[in-house]
Amino acid sequence: MSGAGAAARRETARRPADSWTRALRERIERTVPPGQALPDRQPVFVSSWIYVFGVLTVASLVVVVATGCVLAVGGVAWWHVSSLGHFVNSLHLWSVELFFGFMVIHLWGKFWMAAWRGGRLLTWVTGVIAFVTSIGTAFTGYLSQSNFDSQWISAEAKDGINAIGVGAWFNVLNPGQMLLWHVVLLPLAIGLITVLHVVLVRRHGVVPPIDARDGE
């Protein structure tokens, strides 16, 4: 019997059975099957371009967040007075355009293959929530341009927002509130939902085509 083995048993004996760290660790280990968090193998049917648009969406989101962080350093009016700021703002805008384009094509692909099959309903629902939250984030971004365009959009939007009864808490005529929603609350929500969505994809695996045979 080795000394290390006896020490490990004594350590196990001292650890309470209901330790929250142990419960959390075991919960994390159960969430994604072993080897599926960052797999290096996929089923043959994944060898199609339509399966690429999910990761393209995530890649675009990374560029959106990175350029948004640079814009935050310069300030909300930086892009009006600096060629570098204008360039970074353009990167931010076009990465958002690509983000939505890739996400919608990803949505079309998953819709036509009924990607909610096989216990993947929550994966589908988190994708829908991420899509809707992204629209809200883009909307607050248009309201944060600090120009006449943002004024026009907010003036046009206020009646619609008030009509659904949330104008008292989400005032599109308040540029400070809209900016903070755009750079703090909504990106945080999208980040959390995206992580949950990807974890669920890794937990349940990529959905097979409808006509795929077992083991294909």
């Binding site: 193998r41 996929q42 199609s48 371009w49 648009f53 384009g101 692909g109």
Partner: protein
């Protein structure tokens, strides 16, 4: 390209089909996305070693 973009930004062209109307720029973007979607469905992904590997072991 820049001139074309400037012209489209200055005076938005709107397409009408009866009750349906859409700005030309938005219509072109949607059509481009549909084209990309169709291409993604029909173009082969490529002969990756992983797809050819019958044993299932990726290099």
């Amino acid at each position: 390209m820049v001139r074309a973009a400037a012209v489209m930004a200055a005076s938005p062209h709107v397409v009408h089909w009866g009750w349906f109307r859409i700005e030309l720029a938005n219509l072109l973007i949607i059509l481009a996305m549909v084209v990309v979607f169709v291409i993604a469905m029909v173009v082969p992904f490529g002969r990756s070693a992983w797809a050819r590997d019958d044993s299932g072991d990726r290099p």
